[in-house]
Amino acid sequence: MRKIVAAIAVVLLWNACKSNNNKTLPIYGNRTPVTNVVDGKSETDTIYQTIPPFKFVNQYGDSISNKNVKDKIYVADFFFTSCPSICPIMQRNMLNVYNAFKADDDVKILSYTIDPKHDSVNVLKSYADKLNITGNSWWLLQGKKEETYQLAEKNYLVAVRPDSTVAGGIIHQGYFILVDKKSRLRGAYDGTKPEEVNKLIADIKTLKAETDEKAAK
């Protein structure tokens, strides 16, 4: 009996090590095969869905574009400061991500407001202050409403739409989207669930350790 238990334990440990070493995160979104002719031979490559160029303003009034997250890993989510439903728990959980990586310049958090009319730069700054968000690792971004909604639905694949029947007037999903250094979607986590957010923190570490060859496989 003891031998069997020991054997199972060894197998489990072995597997645990193996999966940790070789773990790569999947790449989400649409993919398009592209055939190029290189040295007379045709080669097929895969083009993954990426986040297109964007330009928003952060809580300090600074302009933030896709250039600011070039070669960075980042987490994106959509919120609004007067949101009564899922936002507080999302922020509570995002604070864990923030605290885990705030000293790491390679990891950023981008929270786009879906209520830019109300959430001016001043409102965003005071909201950030109340959550003790300092420095430049977590940006609260404000931009044009249509652009934000389009970015959410078409690019980050998060559903957002106005709905006068719900509290706060906007219905939206509380997903945290993980984006890699090449602007590709690498994960989506339910921001209202602490255990999913812990997985996100672990996955960011995996992504940081990932090399280009591994990702290409």
């Binding site: 007067s82 009564p84 439903s85 899922i86 507080p88 728990i89 922020q91 509570r92 909201y127 202050d129 109340k130 959550l131 003790n132 509290a167 706060g168 209202t192």
Partner: protein, 143 residues
């Protein structure tokens, strides 16, 4: 080995009997309190916990905690109005100032009584039962 298991079971049985004796001797008030409190914990989880937290800790300077017993005691008769109609403007909790809006909650008087009993007797608070009649009367006087 066997003796230990039997001994352990004996102790467990003893504890069960003693608890049983105590619960059967509970007064009507205690039973009422238990009923309000346990239903209130469910109402809290669905309607309050997202913002105020699993331990009533609030969220930094954004959402006030529910751990200020002095405040709760002083405002015991308006808590039902806060829950039902929401709050707006400045509020000082544990010497910290909070500003913002708490949305109204579409809860019945009995659900409000449940959740208030839960909150005012959790997180270090101990204010006793806030019952249905109390809430109904408080709601009649909301500003």
């Amino acid at each position: 080995m066997k003796l230990k298991i039997i001994g352990g079971l004996g102790v467990l049985l003893f504890i069960l009997i003693i608890t049983g004796m105590f619960t059967s001797c509970q007064s009507d008030e205690q039973i009422e309190f238990q009923r309000y409190y346990s239903s209130g914990s469910l109402v809290y989880q669905t309607h309050c916990q997202n913002c105020h937290g699993a331990h009533g800790e609030g969220l930094l300077a954004l959402i006030p905690p529910l751990t200020d017993s002095a405040y709760l005691r002083a405002n015991k008769n308006v808590l039902a109005c806060f829950v039902k109609y929401g709050t707006k403007g400045k509020i000082t909790i544990q010497n910290k100032s909070f500003e913002g809006t708490m949305p109204p909650n579409n809860l019945s008087p009995v659900e409000i009584a449940n959740v208030l009993t839960y909150v005012t007797n959790s997180f270090g608070n101990k204010l006793g039962t806030i019952n249905n009649q109390q809430v109904a009367s408080d709601l009649g006087k909301c500003e």
